[in-house]
Amino acid sequence: MEELISENLYLIILLPLWIFLILMLGRFFAVYINKTLTHALTLLSSAMGVIATLGLYKFFTPDKIYEYSYPFLKINDFVVPFGIHIDRMSLMFTSVLFFVSLLIQLFSISYMKDKKKQYRFFALLNLFNFSIAGLFLSPNLFQTYVFWELAGVVSYLLIGFDYDQFKKSVAAKKVFIINRIGDTAFLAGITMSSYFLYEYAPVKSLASLSFFDINTSSVLIGAYTSRPLFLIICWLFLTAAIVKSAQLPFYTWLQDAMEAKLPVSALLHSSTLVALGIYLTLRLLPFYTLAPIVLKSATVIGILTAFVCSLSACSQTDMKKTLAYSTSAQFGLMFFAIGVLNIKAAIALFCAHALIKPMLFITIPNENEKWNYTNFVLFLIGGLSLSGVLFLGMLSKEIFVYSLGTTGKTLVTILSFLTAFYITRIALVATDKNGLEKGNVNIIEILSISGFLILNIGIYVYLRKIGVYKIAEPFWAAITAWISVYILYTKQGFYKIPFIYPLCHEGFYLDKLYMTVVVGTYNKIAKLSDLFETKIFSNYKPALLFSKCGVKTVCWIEENVMNRAVSAIVSFSRQVSTISKQLQTKNVQWYNLYGFMIITAIISCLVLAYIAFLAYIEGVG
Amino acid sequence: MYNEIIFYSASFLILLFGVLTLVSWNIFYSLISAIIVFFTTSIFFWLLGSEYNAVIQLAIYGFAIPIILGLGIMFTNLKKDRPVKFGFSNSKYGLILVCGIFILAMIYIVLISLLSVPEIFSTQIIFDEFINPHSNFMVFSKGIFSNYVWAFELISLILTITVAGLTIIKRVGRRAK
């Protein structure tokens, strides 16, 4: 059973791709446009993924690895195989991915009800599933890179789905360009490490950077390279992870990604795009353990991101932006956990975040519309869970805090205080802005939200049964934050601190910094070169004379040499065409005859040549 | 001896009617001579020891394709300036007779190729022993389902695509109108 599923898991990955092709090609050839079929196929692929991965999870003990691959790219003795690598971690990531995308696809059925181009939306969702699942199950870094790029492209297509709106298309472009930094760093790291392994390693197959022997290859790279070079390789990999997970210098793309539709942002923020950074860091942990300074830098980046983004989220008035900043902050917490090598806590935090964040996204109201009571209550439950008061959110923070020292405990406590602070504040701000109402909620939406909630509670109960954790400081901090924010807000105790508030509101001016420094520099260079050309170069006499002389020479050559050659060719081809024109009788039978004549001539030539060859051999003999 | 007589008479028929197909002024006469050519070809296949191909030739080239071509001819002859002098009114019984003879002939050919023993009518023989292992059918089926499976599937696919494609083109043309 387990062998059967393991061997055929690639089919589960290929199913979304297949459905993507069916939907796109079906629409392309105008064979059918059936909404029910589209929804059913999309849901089917995700459901199959959930069943297969959860079913496999039971059989895979922590140290079991199943891997098969076939050579895909061969250059002499350098082989890059493609295939599938299944272990506990990839199964965990894939099952979370499929579960979350199943529920979000369920939600997007009701969300996209009256919108145009549904088939394209669902097809792209399928392609996104394919790319992410292929990344989680890839056996080496090369295949990971391929799917990494595919995920970037599909996220570009999904964010810029309404490409006729200028703002959205610009946002999609910006997201893609910032992600390119990480992609380039990733590619550079792969090529460098693969080069060293290929040049010096005793076994050439190590150069494919397979995950199966990542321990060996990381040790070997550490041995073959000098210390700074090894650190550079590690930092390149870390940069790739940081860019994809929206950490400190690069977190601005996540706020631009908010231009996407609600289901897409729910998907991006939970288990797909930003999860890739965490996944890559966990996979390449052998590299980092050999270089503790890289781990330390990851910790520092994580803590800084968490603080900066939490503070920025505290001063936003737009709900989606708050949630975007909170995603960055939560992933900063995960990097913190990885940096102190608490993998269990990192994965718990990831699971909790992946199950809570889509719920928050789904329940927020549309712009300038009143908020449903049901959605409001569900949002509050999700917020409580995220800030560490309820269910899985609480448990993950407890697991994390359990292993930390006093400083770390203080940091996490402050962070969870801030988390609770901004979630409560934004809920209160939104209710004040448009008010609450007693509207009807779509059954499909309720189904998908309750799916998230049930899984959240279920995992919590299961983990509570297995281990014993005591309630830690973050819980009390979050509770304090909730109560204090409510009291302050109702008594209008908030006021905007003159210097810090605008700083937080603009996201510490990082976006503007990029705009002024990078874009401004580029513009200035362009202007400078323009100035050089129009003002200086055109007034410089010798240059002008030189260019005039060149132009005249070229003109002479063109008139006397090129033109004559061309006209000779023209007259020759005209003569040929007058002959061939007579052959054109616009009758198929004549053309058949020509063909037959040519074939006969060729065959007779061959026969004559064969006879001549025989005669020559006889003469020689 | 018989083989030679059959061969020479058949080749004579092929030569004669092949030339007649091209020469005859009336398109119907040329069609009929073409049918005779196709029938004679099946005799050749039978002589060469491939009864299955002979049957296929009879069924497809002898009957199906001439009927389609005849439909095409009828389609062209709808014009008034070229009247058709051809009818099936009196040949109803003849048609039935020909069909009966054809069915008998088919049964004969099939039985000949299937059986190694002439004891056809004895009922106690098991079917497996009934079949000549060196007969054409066995070799044929082995060929189709072992070496040429892909070619066979491809041909069937092409057939399906042709049928579907012609239907779709027809529908699209109708929609365009």
């Binding site: - | 030679e4 092929i14 491939s50 191909n53 296929i56 497809i60 071509l69 001819i73 041909i155 012609l166």
Partner: protein, 102 residues
């Protein structure tokens, strides 16, 4: 009468092929052209059968090829007739010379 050899059959096949080819070139009626194309296929089929009998040994590769050729011929005829129908609707003629103008 002499014994019938490989070459007798091959000659007949060749004759049918050449006849078909000449007809497809000479004839002006499009139905006749189609018939002649089928003649060409028939000639090829006879060649296949002959070689399968005399040179093929116990294998039936040539005979299987005949089956495929027959199927291909039928398909081709169906498509050709459809094109003919289409062109006839436009040109109101079965003379192939008028089909040159598109």
């Amino acid at each position: 009468m002499t014994e019938i050899t490989l070459y007798h059959y091959l000659f007949v096949g060749l004759f049918v092929f050449v006849l078909g080819f000449a007809g497809s070139i000479v004839c002006k009626n499009i139905i006749k052209v189609l018939i002649c194309i089928e003649f060409m296929l028939t000639g090829v089929n006879i060649n296949f059968a002959t070689f399968a009998k005399y040179c093929g040994g116990s294998s039936a590769d040539g005979f299987v090829m005949i089956l495929f050729y027959t199927a291909i011929g039928a398909i081709e005829l169906a498509v050709a007739l459809y094109i003919f129908y289409f062109m006839h609707c436009k040109k109101q003629s079965d003379n192939i010379e008028k089909y040159g103008e598109l």
